[in-house]
Symmetry: C2
Subunit: 435 residues, 2 copies
């Protein structure tokens, strides 16, 4: 008998009615002949409420105790879900991470799973029960409660599905992964299949459907994830391993990230270790850095620029000014009210002309490009914040994402312009986060 | 180094300020050179809120899932308490019942403790930490969460103190056990020492300081419990094993229980097994019966009367009317708006005249006695509800409970009246609850 692991996020179990709706969905899968495991998050705003409680007693609560506290959120929901199923006449049993042997390391608030003892789950499934597991949490070998960090419930989903060799369904408040945020791009289209890598790019570029850690985990164990809407029965998006077929699609989606600031360090002495020191100092101040660009000015001096979230700008400003005061000639400039528009697709690996097409579309719309960064399967442009929504729409249109997807890229190639704008830009690394 | 186990009930940890106050109390004990274990209940109304949540999804939630749900209440408070202590610079660590090896049977919602592995607690105490344990909860051998039922946190307190050979302090919103409810009897006096048995009587007679299960547990393992107010530093009441010295005190306290109904069954055929059937039928309907009195009318017919809580009267009425319809000649009468005033004291075992003194005091106050029941160390009178508070005051005064306690009972004996009113009354058993 095949097993399906269904994950329901906080908004999908936010009240009794939604819990019942999720229970009915599990029952439907059961009636279709499947054994069902549910992975459940805390109800709606529960986690926020618990954090608020913690901050009432301490401005810096120990992480071990924070995990002990936060894990109660999922424990409440799993027992309510079991009650709802039993009330509907379906035998069910709830398990905390500890009860199901989901063992992690002891890195509190962002623990990593070491192993899961799925025997208990199998036993209860074989006894005809729906098994409900608390997402987001784990225990160390000695039974101390841990949590898996942001997107943790999705990590639980993938880990359990991988251990059971099960199908994997992720129910959220959106019904799949879109070619762009439909709130900004009205003709955005739901993507049927997307590769792990494309999903990873889109997530880090601003699309918030699924947290990267879960996708990385799914990629590692090759577990396809079906992202579906908890409010509908339609097929969602299947996140799967890359296939040759996928390479024919140049761009899978576009994303917009807003509220960014760009910091530019000029006259940076080009000596080994200095860049490392700069980014180490920023990381030590817990500032997440992205889109690092280094350009040589003279053989001995370079310009380094990177983006930070606007909220981190005051801290970043302090760190950079201190660095400048210690390095002769080095200056720092700060720009805010910026956004980043990006396209991602595994087809970029083999197709040319993607960058040109993107730049041309932005140029036609009169949108100035401040910075450009690329990865193997993504291109990003830093632009003015006020241009953000428009930029996302024109880029989305330029790659025909809203219409039925073209299965060949011949038309793309025809329009390829001759010059490439990125020549002077040395990409250091795209994801230098917390390096 | 001596260990003290301090228990804080829900009202004593109802908000951040009260959690801090409890933490400060633990710190004071630590500064006084003691190792400190705290046993903590759920915050204020948390348990009620969780029950309400459960009832939103099921009118009859499975008990296993109910325990899984309710146990989160204490888990929240223990982690907050650890955070508060750490914030005050004192190392602390919180443990759920599972983490500390508090193993129970699998009788959900009223599990009984089988054993506690206190080694983990000792290790953390020896490492200089305040150890915080979730009250009210346990786990079965296979890690399933259980709860210990009403008064469960006090059972946890006593069990841990017994296992550690520790002192035992129970902090509540009253600062000790009083000779009567101070809200009704203004000159009620705090009792310095009281025996387990007296406490058990007073609890079942209406004083709600400590649940009987905890006192029975303390008696079994001979663990003295210090009942103290969480709002003051004064000594409270020590609940201890009976000493010879205690017998000189005839009456330790008086109690009032209101909202009672008396049911009288007349012409009950006096044949073996019938009384058992009556009370079995009531118990099966979950009606708690107390103060059973059987009086012989003829050698073949008896009158049986007993009290029930007013809320149970409608159900009890139905059960009794059915019984009457099946037994020729038997009739049932129902009286409500009744209360019970009681006195308790181990001295009653050896001293006479207690009943007379009580009846005389009630007679002088013009209070009519409806029924009388006695146990080895308590006497109770059923009276009109409207007479309740006055009755408690006059009985309290009659035994001089409000003044400094007389150390001899000579004066008591002098006033002893000659007749005993209980001659015609056959006591069957006082505590036929759920028999």
């Amino acid at each position: 008998m095949s097993i399906v692991v269904m994950k329901f996020g906080g908004t999908s179990v936010a009240d009794a009615e939604k819990i019942r709706a999720a229970a009915r969905r599990a029952i439907r899968a059961r009636k279709a002949g499947k054994q069902v495991v549910m992975v459940i998050s805390a109800m709606g705003k529960t986690t926020d409420r618990l954090i608020e409680l913690a901050h009432q007693v301490s401005d810096n609560p120990p992480k071990r105790e924070m995990d002990q506290l936060l894990a109660t959120g999922e424990q409440v929901t799993i027992s309510l879900m079991a009650m709802a199923l039993e009330k509907m006449g379906v035998p069910a049993i709830s398990f905390t991470a500890g009860q199901v042997g989901l063992v992690t390391d002891d890195v509190h608030t962002k623990a990593r799973i070491k192993h899961i003892n799925v025997e208990r789950i199998r036993r209860e499934l074989d006894a005809g029960k729906v098994v409900i597991v608390a997402g987001f949490q784990g225990v160390t070998e000695d039974g101390t409660v841990t949590t898996l960090g942001r997107g943790g419930s999705n990590v639980t989903l993938v880990a359990i599905a991988a251990s059971l060799g099960a199908e994997c369904e992720n129910y959220t408040d959106v019904d799949g992964v879109y070619t762009a945020d439909p709130r900004i791009v009205p003709n955005a289209r739901k993507i049927g299949r997307i590769s792990y890598d494309e999903m990873l790019e889109l997530s880090s570029l601003g699309a918030s459907v699924l947290h990267n850690r879960a996708v990385e985990f799914a990629k590692k164990y090759n577990v396809p994830i079906h992202v579906r809407g908890s409010g509908s029965n339609r097929k969602g998006t299947l996140i799967v391993a890359e296939t040759q077929d996928m390479e024919r699609i140049v761009v899978s989606g576009a994303a917009l990230k807003t509220d960014l600031a760009v910091i530019t360090l000029r006259n940076v002495p080009d000596r080994p270790g200095l860049a490392a020191r700069i980014f180490h100092t920023l990381a030590a101040a817990k500032i997440v850095v992205d889109d690092i660009i280094q350009t040589e000015i003279t053989p001995k001096l370079a310009t380094v620029s990177f983006t930070v979230d606007l909220v981190d700008l005051p801290d970043a400003r302090k760190v950079c000014q201190q660095l400048c005061s210690k390095t002769r000639g080095m200056t720092a400039e700060f720009e805010q009210d910026l956004a980043k528009v990006s396209v991602a697709g595994v087809g970029m690996r083999v197709h040319t002309g993607v960058a040109e097409r993107m730049f041309a579309a932005l140029a036609r719309a009169g949108i100035n490009i401040r910075n450009i960064t690329t990865s193997e399967i993504a291109i990003s442009c830093i632009i003015a914040q006020e241009d953000g929504p428009k930029a996302l729409r024109v880029v989305h249109d330029a790659f025909g994402l809203g219409r039925k997807r073209a299965r060949s890229t011949k038309s793309t190639r025809k329009k390829t312009a001759k010059r490439r704008n990125t020549a002077k830009t040395t990409k250091v690394t795209k994801r230098a986060r917390k390096s």
